[in-house]
Symmetry: C2
Subunit: 322 residues, 2 copies
């Protein structure tokens, strides 16, 4: 079979031939038809993760066949028994175990979910890691309601777009932020009520006029998150799934306690989150936002595209039939 | 009747004669037997509140008689209809409305609760503001469980002591912090498993050895709260009811999302919190911790005692029968 094998930090992403590993009891082989990139893949290649173990096949997201059944893979392995947090042995498919940037991948059978019948393989591959992170953030932890005014920061990224789609399907009013006016326009075309340019120094004043925010879904942190607290409604929930812009300087307990805000940390998702998300996607027939599709052999270009950060939606790899 | 009337910022707290205000429909007159101080009273006198309206009778906490019935007053007025947060018209008895440092006070009838039969007036007066703040923090928002390891910071203050007592009555294991070894010893005598001196630069290392913390009840904020996040268990809850040591410098989203922590702001309590707290105190026959009792005429000394900050428990005023 063909696979991408990464041998070292910043190593090449070449398509090479390999023999699929042996399947153990309780495992299945997935004949992959599509995979998708996450920031995790880029950061791992750049050496930004601890305990990297080379070589390995990267990739967490994938869809394909198990025998005749189209499936999606839940890449969260060994979550553990408590839905509130992941166990210490939690890991994500695609380092240290071999991932989805290959024609085949071996995973425990319980990681496999039927693929939604309204989606292509390329769309289904856009679900797993970003989708479950967003679902846990928005639904499980954020408890989004149809009466909520929701703010999703940094629209265009995979998690942010899924969060917007889950909130919209829940009947909530959704606002977004971006540094790029085109991304705001595209979010509006998908159902967002409006958006704010976070590089406008007055964006918080503008946002305040839209009305108080009941639920924030944020992956950036930094001073932006401190600003957002100012426009939260009393009793508002802020769900944080990332900190790409770093620590929050001068975090005020006063705003937190006087407004009775809940600041909720979340990462990835449990098997229960994944299962509920698949039901939700099927029920609402949600179609993932795919930015571009590359062939598996053009993995290098796909990574470059993600590093540029201009995408609006998932970057997908089409995998040739063996 | 006798009352304490404050005419200006930093004005004297002299016992003066007055005529009780007229009772409107739906209001009751409480013949007070005991009142208690809160930091709020000291801060108001120091002019640290916005929109001060002089003159007024200070005091939020009180117990006494309505006709022949011993009662406790819920000092949270006009909370509003949503249990998740206070309305914009929420206010606390004792500025702008006349408070409990008097022989009589007029309050809406719904603010009155039967006094627990196992308590004296002096003990019952120690319940209201600190008690409901701690109950909402620990039970309503913090959802304390018998299996939790709880950390209550700044033991000795009214809210912190109530939080410890509510957590202990819930069956939880309770640890405390203080800057004073005597306060740690007294907390242990009340049932705390142990304590940490927060002015020891290595206290977090020591605390880590006690095991991960499931629930933190904190009124300080500042760098201490950032440190405490490091010893929280995955899925831990941190409830913040105050920020006496200021903002948290460099608040890390990474710890928050990776550990799936919930940082929950809370202030005061709703009528539903107050009612549930009274039931809880009756059920567990909890006795409030009273530090010292002053006669109403020695209000000046009682304020001085609170400003010193050495107390362990509530500072109570005994009110002479008219």
């Amino acid at each position: 079979m063909k696979q991408i094998l990464l041998h070292e930090v910043n190593g090449p992403l070449q398509l090479t031939d390999a023999v699929i590993q042996t399947c153990q009891a309780g495992e299945v082989v997935v004949d992959l038809r599509a995979a998708a990139l996450n920031h995790r893949d880029v950061w791992i290649r750049q050496g930004q993760y601890a305990r990297l173990q080379f070589p390995f096949v990267p990739g967490s997201d994938g869809a394909g066949f198990v025998e005749d059944q189209p499936v999606v893979i839940n890449p969260g392995l060994q979550w553990g028994s408590n839905n509130n947090y992941q166990s210490e042995s939690f890991q994500i498919l695609g380092m240290p175990t071999n991932g989805t940037f290959a024609q085949k991948v071996v995973v425990p059978a319980e990681q496999i979910y039927p693929m939604p019948s309204h989606l292509s393989f390329e769309e289904a591959a856009a679900i797993p890691l970003a989708g479950v992170t967003a679902f846990r953030a928005t639904v499980t932890q954020g408890k989004v309601k149809s009466t909520d005014r929701v703010l999703v920061t940094g629209i265009g990224g995979g998690v942010a777009l899924w969060a917007m789609q889950f909130a919209l399907a829940s009947g909530a009013e959704v606002w977004v932020t971006s540094g790029n006016p085109d991304k705001l326009a595209r979010a509006k075309s998908l159902g967002a009520t409006g958006g704010f340019l976070y590089n406008d120094p007055d964006w918080i004043k503008v946002a305040r006029q839209a009305g108080p925010i009941d639920l924030v879904i944020d992956g950036a942190g930094g001073n932006g998150l401190a600003q957002v607290m100012k426009i939260c409604a009393p009793g508002g929930r802020i769900v944080s799934y990332g900190g790409t812009t770093g620590a929050i300087p001068q975090f005020s307990p006063q705003i937190l306690f006087w407004k009775q805000l809940h600041l909720i940390g979340t990462t990835m998702g449990s098997p229960s989150d994944f299962s509920a998300m698949m039901d939700f996607i099927n029920l609402h027939r949600i179609i993932p936002v795919v930015d571009r599709i590359f062939p598996l052999g053009a993995c290098e270009q796909a990574y470059a595209c993600m590093e540029e950060g201009r995408q609006f939606g998932k970057i997908v790899l089409q995998i040739p039939v063996e």
